[in-house]
Each structure stands twice: as C-alpha cells, then as structure tokens.
Symmetry: D2
Subunit: 358 residues, 4 copies
C-alpha cells in the first residue's frame, strides 16, 4: 500500500524496479525560484554510482538523470519535479537457480509472502538500486536547504574494524574508495575487504552522517521529532538494522552529569561544551551538528552456499552467482546523506510554517 513516499511538506515518491526500463522519483513541495539543473543532481548520483572500485558491485550504470518536469528556465516552479534514470545495464542473466529460492537474509521471501508474486530479477523494489532515487531527491533537498547547511557522511566501521575517532579528518574522506575519515584505517579496510571479496562473503558497515549549520528549532513534538524522522529515514534504507543519534547506545553507560551537554555563552551565542545529544533535544534541533549513525548488515547475496527453502516448500541450497557486492554499506554513504537532507528540508519548511525564519 502506498508506502513509497517520504516527507510531509517536502515529499518525494520513488518508483521503479532494477530490471524495468527506468527508475525515478517525483519530488513534490519544492519552493519556487530555486536554481536547479541536471548537473546539480548528477554530481550526487555519480558519487553513489556502482562500479567505481573493486569493493562495490560491478554493475555498470550510467545513472544519468533527466528532469522531466517542475523546472522552467533553470528555476524550480513550485510544481512536482520528476527525475528519471534509465536502467541501462539489464544484462540478460540466468535467474533459474534463484527464481524460486529465497536468499537467507533477503527480502525476496517476505515480498513473496506478502504479495504472492515475485519479481525475482535483481530484487525488484527491495533492490539497492532504489536508493539512486533517494540520492536524486536528496540533491533537490540540498538546494532547498541552501548553502548554509552542509551535510557530510563517512564510513566509520567495516566488519569488526572501527575507525579511530581521534584520527578523523574530513579531507581524507574523498581520498579513498570507502569515504573513510581515518587514513590508516582505510588502508586496513582495503586488505580486509579484498579477503572478504575473494572468499565470496560480505561485510557490514557503520555510516555516520553529520549536518552542520542547522538552526535551533527544527523538529516537531511529539511524534514528528527530528530524531524520530531521521531514525525512520535511515532505517528504511536497504539492509539497515540500527540507528543512533549522538552518543546513541553509548549514552546508556554515561551518568546524567556526563551525558548532559553543558552550556556557556560565547560571543553572545549559546555554546555547548559537548554533543552527546547529537544536536537534538526533545526532538528539536539545538543548533549543534546533527549526528546520526546507522548500521548496514552484510549483504545477503553471497557466493557461499546456504541452506534455504524454495517457493514449493522444498529444502534446498542457494548461492548467488555473478556480480557481487562485498560491502553494500560503502555505497550507503551518499544515501544516508540524501536522507538527512530530505528530512531537514521537510522540517525546514515546517519550521517556516510556524513563522521561523531561516
């Protein structure tokens, strides 16, 4: 049912399967007179595009976006923006060995239970390909947010290997194929993932997304809290199993006095002495950086045989052949950034509705 939309005022709806002719997204609720052209969107799609290193799937997609509506003479008009991405790499593939078998850990089982029908080609709507549409929507959201709000993501853990946060350097993120802010760890991940890839296995990842420049006051009580919407946003990304804000699970082991971010004045502005809150208190932004982390499980499409059943109730084995993505989490970085942008754009518009000036 009608579950393919996200947002209240800034609202997008994605559509398309990985093996149909195209995928895309309608972005509704974009304010008028914002400069927007295809390269504004393409740059973020390029960042997510598969096949850019040996650590991600070798599917070759141009992921070329076309604006079909909502823009006139280089500006948004306030009407819905349809962004279309053609699927170019639908190479003929032999699905016989998986067409009626369920991959452990994959959505094909639940889709079949729910719908009684299955588009077995590449995962259908549950395919990671859907996330290209999110990235396109996120590119529009960034334009709505304007240049004062910066959103950046990084990979902070692959498999059991977490970065050293003391070594965090944002400039390192663009230098390695992992969006890793810790140069030393990036090198270790390269070795580790080569092993995973050769073994036909897969590894999970933790992604951290940070938004800077967000004014205090975004987010609605009680059920439309900013962190509630972020949690939903990230949890709906394929393969995500956990979300945390600020100190997250680690806050549990802190005392109240350690966890509360103390405040002082600096140049007439409130300054927080720490950011365990991750920039959100009571569901509303504090003005500090918004910090979200989420966990991506290891992909279920691996080259190793696993025990499963088929649609006829037979006990069988399954192993995926062909293109293989040892760490699907890597491509999750631009997706997490996009979802952050979309949540913030929606709340920015809601904030304005209340009379807030941004």
């Amino acid at each position: 049912m009608a579950g393919n939309s996200f947002g209240t005022l800034f609202r997008f709806t994605t559509w398309g399967e990985s093996h149909g002719p195209a995928i895309g997204v309608v972005v509704d609720g974009v304010p008028p007179r914002i400069p927007l052209a295809e390269p504004d969107i393409q740059q973020w799609l390029d960042k997510r595009r598969p096949g850019q290193s040996r650590y991600t799937t070798q599917r070759r997609e141009a992921d070329e976006v076309k604006i079909l509506s909502g823009v006139f003479k280089g500006q948004t008009t306030g009407t819905p923006i349809q962004l279309l991405i053609e699927n170019t790499d639908q190479r003929s593939r032999d699905y016989r060995n998986i067409a009626d078998r369920f991959r452990p850990g994959h959505a094909d089982y639940t889709y079949w239970k729910k719908y009684g029908i299955r588009d077995y080609r590449g995962g259908g709507r549950a395919s990671a390909r859907e996330t290209a549409s999110r990235v396109a929507a996120g590119a529009v959201a960034r334009k709505v947010l304007g240049s004062g709000i910066a959103i950046r993501g990084a990979l902070v853990q692959i498999g059991p290997h977490a970065i050293d946060r003391a070594a965090w350097d944002w400039s390192a993120v663009e230098e390695n194929p992992f969006w890793c802010p810790d140069r030393e760890m990036a090198a270790r991940w390269a070795d580790y993932l080569d092993g995973v890839r050769k073994a036909g296995s897969s590894a999970g990842a933790v992604i951290e997304v940070v938004a800077s420049g967000v004014p205090a006051g975004l987010g609605e009580p009680v059920y439309d809290k900013l962190d509630g919407d972020l949690a939903r946003a990230m949890m709906t990304i394929n393969a995500v199993k956990a979300v945390e804000i600020g100190a997250g699970f680690a806050a549990v082991a802190l005392s109240g006095e350690e966890n509360g971010d103390e405040m002082r004045m600096r140049n007439g502005e409130v300054e927080f002495l720490s950011n365990n809150a991750g920039g959100i208190l009571g569901g509303i932004s504090t003005g500090q950086d918004i910090v979200v982390r989420f966990a991506v499980k290891p992909t279920s499409s691996i080259l190793k045989p696993m025990r499963t059943v088929d649609a006829n109730g037979n006990e069988v084995e399954i192993e995926t052949h062909g293109r293989h993505d040892p760490c699907v989490g890597i491509r999750g970085v631009p997706v997490g950034e996009a979802m952050m942008a979309c949540v913030l754009a929606d709340h920015l518009l809601r904030y304005r509705a209340l009379g807030g000036e941004v």
Copy 2:
C-alpha cells in the same frame, strides 16, 4: 505543528501537559465490535505508574483512565476513543530556580528556542508523563491485535551493566522492579541504582521488546517499512537515543553467511535457524519474533550542579531539587511495549486492506 499523532489507519493523538488538569489520547481507526472497558487499559497504566519502587520518581499519580467516547455497551463502535487521565499530583512546587534556566540534556532549551514560550512546570509536552497516553493507546492496540500476538518487554542493560542473555527467563521479569529477565543481574542493578540515587545522579538503560505471533507479510515497502515505523516509534519516546532491530549494530561484525538466517521446513512451515533479522526482512515481517531494542539516556534532571545558561544569556549553574528519577528507562518498558503494539495494529489494518487475512 500537528506533530502529536501517530499511525495511518490505527492512529492516535495525544495531548496534555504534566501540570495541566489532565492528559489524554484520542485513538482513531479502531475496528468496531471489539470488547473494551476501562480495566483493559488500566492494567497497563498501572504497570507504568510512577512511585512503585524507590528506583523511579516518587510522583504519586493514580493514573486512572476514563473512556469518554467510542465504546457502547462494552464494545468499540468504530468511532474515536477518547481516553482521559486526570493529573492529581500537581503539587505546588518552587520553580523559581529553574524557570528560566535550561537543564543540560533537557528539551526545555529547544522548546524555548522553537516556540519562544516555555511551560517550565514539569517539562510540558516533553515530560515523561506524555508516555502514559502512549500506554493507554497501546492497550487499545493490543485489543485490536487479539490474543494471538503477544508483546513483552524487558530491561537488558542499566548503566554499564548488561544482562547475561543466556540467563534470560521471562518469568523473572515480573518478579523484580526492573523488568529484568536475568535474576542475578536484577540484584546487582538494585545495588548499583541505590548508589546512583544517593549520588543524585542518573543512569541510562536498554530496553528490548519482543512481539510473538506476528504473521509474515506485515509492513509496507519502501518508506513505510515495519522496521522504519518501529524505529520512529521508539525514537520518539522521551530520552531515547538509539534503536536497533534483531542483531542491530552487532550485525556489522558478522559475515554475510553468519548474518543470513537460514531456512528449513518443519511440519510444512518455514522455520528459520536463527533470528538476526529480528523478524523483519525488506521492511516486512517474516513470521519470526519481532525484536527491537532501544537506548534510554540518563535523565537530565539530577541533583548535581551543572553549568548552563538562562533565558537572558547569563552563565549560571542549575541543579534540580525534589523528586528525582535515577533511571527513567525502567518505566520505559511498558511504553516500548505500547509503541510496538500501536505499530503492529496499524500495519495489521494496512495488511488487511491489501486482502491479507489475519
């Protein structure tokens, strides 16, 4: 703006501040002809009620619920059910020392930034008192779900002290004031929290909620995933900073073959050999137990002085006096159960809309 509602078909709206005359909830979308009376709701409110042990706030509230509409001759009529709980313990209290000072880690700062006005009495809508309304809504949701679906919660960590999962015994949960399934750990927590309480400090907690008997097929792709809605549901509970499903963050360190839950047949039914998925794949229930965990930060209202600012931009200190809740997470167990019930009831109705039989 309009952020006080939750759900699509089973939809509730809460209202009321901790120091007004009453709080309550309108539950809309309840199917007709379901037997419902006040004791069905009261039993769950009693479970959440403060002041039942020395480990929670000493506020004394009867939390007596009244059904004002939607029930006729002991049955739901299909019309909205208004549940009202009077506030009886609004004891006159001296707020002078906190009326214009912001508690570090508390929502009073962000509410003031957002609204330019502050109901400083007891936290207003950001008060944990709001969760009584959630518990009332959850009681109705349980009736919608019927007796085939069981929802149980437990505390699995307080401060740095996590339970031994091997010692998990559901029957222990009702025997101690912590909803702890590990008897040995319950005793250690008692000592630990006595220390926290005497120190005027506070501790965080991790809560786990498990739903059994949920059929496969609940949840909608892509943005209305069952885990997306659960993440939002739990993250909107006061003081929650993290949510995970199944293996959650721990899934990151597993290999693909360890993480994927293998399947066999048993008595003609699919049986999973593990439950790292937490009962959800691709946002849709698998038929296994739905397992959600969430982290509650240590409460910010503590007896220790902290550095902060006031509404006039002065650097000041603040310490809360009076009633003090050393571990607000304890009372979060029935709240987490209630939110699980509400999310499942909503998705159950959506599932039926698609033609699903339950």
Copy 3:
C-alpha cells in the same frame, strides 16, 4: 478508520457522541504565543447553541468549553489544545421505537451496515452535536488567521424561498434568528417555518460563507486546491449535499467573457471587476472575497410516519418523537464559518512554509 481528523498543518481531531459524557476536539499545529482563553471560543459556541429560538431543536445544552491543554498564562504554547464540552442534556428518553428502525435519509442505516453495531442514542457520531467541536476548532483557527481576515456567514435560502441578493445587508444577519441578510425574507421565513414545524416536517437551507482579507496565494495545486479543501470541508458537515464556489452552478450558463473576472489597476493594486471566481482561480486565492455556498437537506428526523425497515429485515413505519428541528440548516451557519476558518488557517501555515509573508 481514522477519519476524524481534518487539516494538514493546522489539524484537528474531534471525538465524542451526543449521549456520552462529553465531546471535544484536539487542535494540533497551532503556532505559539497566540493569546487564547475560553471566552474566545465560547462566543462562537454560543452562536451555534441549540434552543435559542423556536426554529431549532429544544435540546438545552450549556455547551461550556474547557481548555485542558496547550495554553499557558493566556497564550498558546504550540502544543495540542484539547477542548472539552460536557454533555449536560442527556435526558432519559425512550428509544424503543427507533432503536432498531432506520430513519429514511439518516445515517443510522449506513453506520449499522458498516460497523454492525449502532449507538442509537441521538445519532452517535453522525449527530449534529459533533459540529460543536468544529465550531470550537474554528474559534482557534480565527485566532491563527488574525484580525485581518474576517469570516461571516448567512442563510440565503430556506426551503424554496431564496433571499433577494440586492437586499443583502450584513447588519441584518444578527437581528433575526435565521442569520438572514434580507430583512423582508427573514419575516417570510418565520411564517414559513412555523408552518413546517407545526406540520412536523422539515426544510432545507442554503448557507453562504464569505472570507474577506485573504491574501492572494493561498491554496496548493493540484489536489490540495483551496476550493477542493473547502468543498470537502463543507460536504463533511452533517446533511450537506452540495457545495459551490463563486458563481458555482450558475457559471455554466454564462459565456466565457461573462464569467471571466476582468482586471484593472486601482491605487497600484489589481482590482477585479466581478467575482464569479469566488476568490479562487486554479485552486489558489486571488485576494478577492472567498465565497462558498452549501446546501443542507431537510433533516430526516420528522414527526411524520415514513416507510422503512428494521434491523431484522421487517417492513415497518417510523416517526420520530420528542425534540424536533424544523430547519437544521440554521445552526449550520456558524459551522460553515468554522470550517472556512480551519481551511484558511491550514493553508495560511502552508503558505508560510513556502516563504509567503502574511
């Protein structure tokens, strides 16, 4: 399901049956720092209150409103406002002759078909009593709109007797029990309705609601058009069977050049030379008066016997006894005004979200 709410950003939810302990409404999405007290709401409820003339039902209700939440020190706080109205006139009444018989033209048949249960006491949620909650919400909406936007309603037809529009005088509206702007027609209606009342019959009415001072630019394309929302708003009022904007059905017989409202400049502002559009073009306000008319059918609860069936499938006769409302449309005037106010308040907030200044 969940059908008891109205609005997107300014959103209210009504609850309660005419014979329960109380009815009420939660108004969510009200901006903070708006002065609001019970008399602001009571004045509009008093206008709608039954029993003020012999032309409306003799049910005696104080309709005294209580604010239970969302207001602190005389100002809105941005949190949901619960308004509660106790039912005081639930006089014991003999429902035996109608408890299982369906009144022709009444919702009791469809409720029974839909829900399989029927609260036969006074119409349940389908009772005109529900409209008191709308009036209360509308009173809050007026405060959101501010003093620059005026909303006034009038009755323009009872039974076959329409007013002379050339005789329209707003000052007459408050002088007669019909809200009639045509003094001469008011006198004729008095005679006509006396006849209807004595005959135990009932008459329909047409209500016109006009909003002045609405800025150009309110309303969203394509499905959230201002007139689309107004049509829904009015059509959901009990017994309403038709809605029109501006020239409405009469526009059909006009030529294109007669219907289009020509424009000139006056003091630097656009001035329209007519208002066939009723202040709305393409779903968006033009800056002219917003003009809506709606038809209220004659009430189905009459003292004359009619042929019907009962819940057991027997052919029977039915006639309503006791209190009788010869023209339920009269009390519809403040209800129509309230719905206009709520629709405009919602669109005003949405307009601000886009950056519009009001």
Copy 4:
C-alpha cells in the same frame, strides 16, 4: 507544497506540464496480482483525447501511455506503477502577447502571485493536460474495483441547455461527441456549440457521474466521508466550480418526507424507493447508485478581447489566439469518471482494512 497527490491507501501523484517532455502519474497502493497492461489504460485515455470532434481543442496528442514500473508478467506486483505519457504536440507558438498578461478567469494570475514565476506555455500544471494523468490513474482504479462496480458519466447540461432527464438513455452517450444521454438535446447542443465556437466564445457544462454496484459501507466518518472525498475529487478538476450529491441543491426545496428515501424489502434485500441521497448517507455508501454532478465553468481562453493587467501593473487587453476549446467540459466526462474510480478504490481498500469483505 506537496499538493500533487490524492488518496490514502490507493494513492496517486501526478507530475508534468503541458509543454515539457512528458506528463505522468505514479499510482501507489495497488494490490498485487491484478492483471494490467497498457491497453487497459489506453482505452480511457483515448476517450479523453483532444481533437476528436470540432467541439474540443484541436491540439493533437497521441496520449500513448507507457507502464514503466509495478507490473511483471502482466500482473501488478504491489509496487508503485509509473505511467508516462509523452507530449508530442508542443508546437512552437508565439506566446509574446500572453506571456506577461493574465487571462481573466485563468490560474496564470494566481500562480504568478503565489510562486513569483510563471511557466506561461500552455498553463503549466493548471493546464487541462494534467487530467490525462488522472484518467490513467482512474484506469488502474477501475481494475482495483473489479467488474462488479460500473462507473459511467454523461454531460447533462451545456450552457443554459439542460437535458430532459426523462429522455435519459445510456446507450445514447457513446453515439454523440458530447456524451449526452438525451439524443434530442445532443442535436441542439451541436448547433449551440457551433455558434459559440464561431463567436470565439466558450460555454460551461454540467457532468453527472454514476457508480453502480458499490456495496453499502464504504466511506469513513466524519471528515473522510465518501461524499466529502468525492467533493474534493471533483472540485480539484480544472475549471470545476460546484459539486453536488444526489438531489444536491434541489434537496433544499424538498420537505423532509419528500427527501428521505423510504425503504422496503425485496427478495430479502433492502430496497430504497428513491435516491435523493445519491447513494450516500452520513458519508457512507448505502448500496444504491452513487450519483455526483459537477459544474465546469466556460474556459477562460477565448478569442474575444478582455480587459486585464500585465505583470508590470499596466492595464491591457488580452485575447487568446490559436487552438480554442469552446466547451472544455466535454472532455471532463472521462476525468470525472476517473476521479470517482479513484475515490472508490481508496475507500474500498480502507473498507477492507476494517474487515469488510468485497
């Protein structure tokens, strides 16, 4: 803002301008396993297509629909269905004389006031072209409703000339270019419209849409009434200024006993002796035919000069050149049918959610 979607469970979102590369619609919430192919949709688009007689615009559009997603092996999969229609007739046209002048009665003025930007080519989103997307969505809705529910529309008035309802013959509707059920009136309309066309003027129309086979019980109280949703649905169609259900405005002049539809039993089923209610009581379907009528104003794009202003505040004259549509209401018949189908499909799914069997 985000106003381009319609429906709750069966929900569609339209996009595209008349002079962009394409228009289209995403239909979300379609149950799985419904047979669907392009011809199922094309047949209804063909019915609406312009240029089929001299009484409608001469724009030549193939209106060929492509299914881009949501269908696999000839069946719906439960995922969103993207329907795309390319714009083929974007003939180069001289807009200089209207680019900055506002047509009286046209949305170009309000769009410009709202958005501060104007896509002057052919009306942008306010163009009647948008209704092709509605027709495509309606075609899918019909498949959801199944063959037991029939939806038919007819034109019942053009300009001042209303049909003789006693002469109504559904078989006549397909025989004339007006969808007129009264053969004699169809001939008179032909003459009348020839005059209107030659004069460069335009005429309004009234459309009636009837749905048969709708079970009792569809529609939600109080704000999601079936008639409330129908009113909104029809009022959001371009140029519509009025909507009525059943007897509509005529009900006002009836007495209560004339208006109430009496009930008898026939073959064990309830039979109504009249249908003033238009098949809806209390917002819920009765099982009778659902009858909706709506008024389409004369189009504002006429060849006669009218007084207006331009974007710079100058008083000017305007007249439209080129293609001209003397009665835009004619093409509104398939659009009204489509909106009826979409409203019913949405409520059918909501009805099932409650447990209703259809």
